[in-house]
Symmetry: C2
Subunit: 438 residues, 2 copies
């Protein structure tokens, strides 16, 4: 029986080897020949080696590398990889966002918290309305009655998702994390996460027979999540110097990186238990610690851990994509994809314009909020596993997710690469507009 | 249903936070106050927070941190932690031994391959004989007949185990990995692993009703393992410069550490599929790559990944220890522990003396081979799950494992700390004896 554990671990280690090689090959092709962000190559590498493509086939009588394991997929709400691999990818995402937090300029972040809130609200409301409206209008699959309504609500929820991982990585590689646009995007992603949970709670509640959705219940969930987040960042900032000193006082080797990761993991788990995503907790404590001596000492070791783990996150994200599921829904899928792009860029761009950004800045923010990534896949997976949406709308969600996730990093590079201030008016003495041009 | 996966991952991330903090607190106490190797503190921290001690209790109505999950334990052959956590600890062990391989001096290793073979044979044969003999003599638990014979064979197998992780870490921290003693210990551990598999194959085969153990079958298993290992190291050395060049030619960021880890994971998985332990594969490819430009470039990033992961391995190793299982077997446990120490030190020391080491060197090698670690726990777990040994002898195995695993690093520090050449005669021009004093 002991064999079972050892065999499973051996399989995982072999999968990791393939994943890391595929990630770096894909990244290298993008960097060297296609001149697009390497993260794209990692995502596509994941699609190619994933359980729905090459990884699902068995060669020469060998077992397939990543079996679809349909039972496991159902049990896990549409996640087609093993729990061990999924766990590792989530740990990688925590490291990614913790590193992004450490790199962010806290003062900048706080300065743009106001604009970010408006950007987040616009970036959820408009895509939700468009997704719901389009579904009601086109009645895909001949839906009608309650089934149509619930499907429409779910498509709205899927459309309103934001995945900040890809944006954080591109901003980090281009050293734009602490520009006004960079901090606005990341702050908006935090608030977006809170709003996303509320939307999902309401939609799932409405679509579940016999379940009541009360306004006070929704307010409680939102209040709990937002209250925790404010306490985490506020408390984190207050004790950040103290944490930095205590961690720095350890003499045993490797204490800094191990304890910093422990803090990130702890805050990630706490965030999840308060209804937020783990990565929001990790980003927030990284943000609170940014600017401390510890953050500077962590730069090199955390980068090494990042390089070892983060490709696993993006490849696994690609592995979740079932390209074949998009077959019969190309028309509605194209409509939804176009609406997803327009509604996010406009929904985020207009509040940005209204809060002091110019058109360059608003465009950057809109594009940065575009990728739906694993968040939309997970929401769509919940819909599928609860029977609210069928495989055709799941396919549409995947098509929209792939398109927005692959388009965003390419446009981001050109949007941020051109230079030019993203804020209206001349470079202010506070440095708001200057930072962009660094 | 999706909740399940997310909940499990959140739990894992929370556990990792506690594990890393406990590891560094334990390590700090050892380093600063007790003046013993930090790895001891990590092991003891694991015992304390593990499922058999604090981690198994539930406080304030909260769930226990590490549930014993008796069903899972049985299904996994005595491994009392979740598959996700066990997987991570095994990945950490692969990184540990890969780093040890990179640090080893390949020429030194090859020079001491001969002595190491004899050390390995002595270090398996004598403990096996002592473990079997003592069990037959003392008849613990009133065993008799076949049950006594099979129990005795199993105790022999448990006693002959060697866990090279602790030794590799202490040698690495003290910069003694490429001394004659250091390379002899690690080379012996490789051969020991091959021998250990053979012993276990024979013992399990004999104890399983209806199964036949043929000499040719055992020879085939041993030949396959040894043949693979020779091919891995030989082939690895031949292509190491080429690997170094190819990996170095990648332009995308983080390619070096990701691809190096991929190679380590691949060799680890291959080793396991050829009947060797994963860590042997990782060590061997690290050894083959040592001395290449890649190995030098990897030094810093691999150290950072090491610091992030390796404490998880040692804490999880501690978590596997059920202290309460040692209750009723203190006398026989003490006998077996004493014999385990004597037989390993003598069994490895005499071949060392016979192959050019002096008494200092032989003592260092004997102590370095002493820890049984997770290898003995796994062998004992196989015995328990197959019903060959009962919980009393399992308890004895654990007591012996704890004692040898905790004693070894303490003695190693003093044995290697004093300085003095470990080889007979004056420092030779080839540098054999000089290296020790570095």
């Amino acid at each position: 029986m002991e064999q079972d554990f050892t065999e499973l671990v051996t399989r995982l280690v072999f999968q990791l080897a393939i994943i890391l090689v595929a990630a770096k090959l894909g990244g290298e092709v993008c960097e060297r020949y296609l001149k697009v962000p390497p993260v794209l190559g990692e995502l596509v590498a994941g699609i190619i080696i994933g359980p729905f493509a090459l990884g699902g086939l068995s060669f020469l009588g060998l077992e397939s590398l990543f079996e679809k394991a349909s039972k496991a997929v159902e049990a896990s709400g549409g996640i087609p990889v093993s729990l061990e691999l999924f766990s590792l990818s989530q740990i990688a995402a925590v490291v990614l966002l913790f590193a992004a937090g450490l790199e962010t300029n806290l003062k900048q972040f706080l300065r743009y918290a106001g604009p970010a809130s408006l950007v987040a609200v616009g970036g959820v409301a408009l895509p939700f309305a468009f997704g719901m409206g389009a579904t009601l209008l086109f009645k895909p699959g001949g839906l009608s009655g309650d089934a149509l309504l619930y499907s429409a609500l779910f498509m709205g929820a899927v459309m309103s998702a934001t995945s900040v991982g890809i944006t954080a990585r591109v901003l980090s590689e281009k050293h734009k994390l602490d520009t006004p646009e960079g901090v606005t995007i990341l702050a908006a992603a935090v608030i977006d996460d809170v709003l996303g949970i509320l939307v999902l709670t309401v939609v799932v509640g409405m679509a579940t027979p016999g379940e009541q959705v009360s306004a006070s219940g929704v307010a409680l969930i939102g209040g709990k999540a937002l209250g925790f987040w404010l306490a985490l960042v506020g408390g984190g900032i207050l004790v950040s110097r103290y944490i930095s000193r205590v961690v720095g006082s350890f003499r045993v080797s490797g204490a800094r990186v191990a304890l910093a990761l422990a803090i990130a993991f702890l805050c990630a788990a706490l965030a999840e238990s308060f209804g937020l995503a783990m990565i929001i907790g990790a980003y927030s404590i990284g943000l609170a610690l940014s600017g401390t001596p510890l953050a500077r000492q962590l730069e090199e070791p955390i980068t090494a851990v990042y390089h070892a783990l983060v490709p696993i996150f993006f490849v696994v994200m690609g592995m979740m994509v079932d390209v074949t599921a998009m077959g019969g829904v190309v028309f509605f899928g194209t409509v939804i994809t176009a609406l997803a792009v327009v509604s996010k860029v406009v929904g985020c761009g207009i509040p940005a314009l209204a809060t002091g950004f110019n058109r360059i800045g608003a465009w950057r923010i809109g594009i940065g909020m575009l990728p739906r990534g694993e968040v939309a896949l997970i929401v769509a997976g919940i819909g599928l596993s609860r029977g609210v949406i069928e495989t055709d709308l799941f396919g549409v969600s995947i098509m929209m997710t792939i398109a927005t996730t692959l388009i965003a990093p390419i446009i981001m590079v050109s949007a941020f690469g051109k230079g030019g201030a993203g804020r209206r008016g001349h470079p202010s003495p506070e440095g708001g507009a200057v930072d962009v041009a660094r």
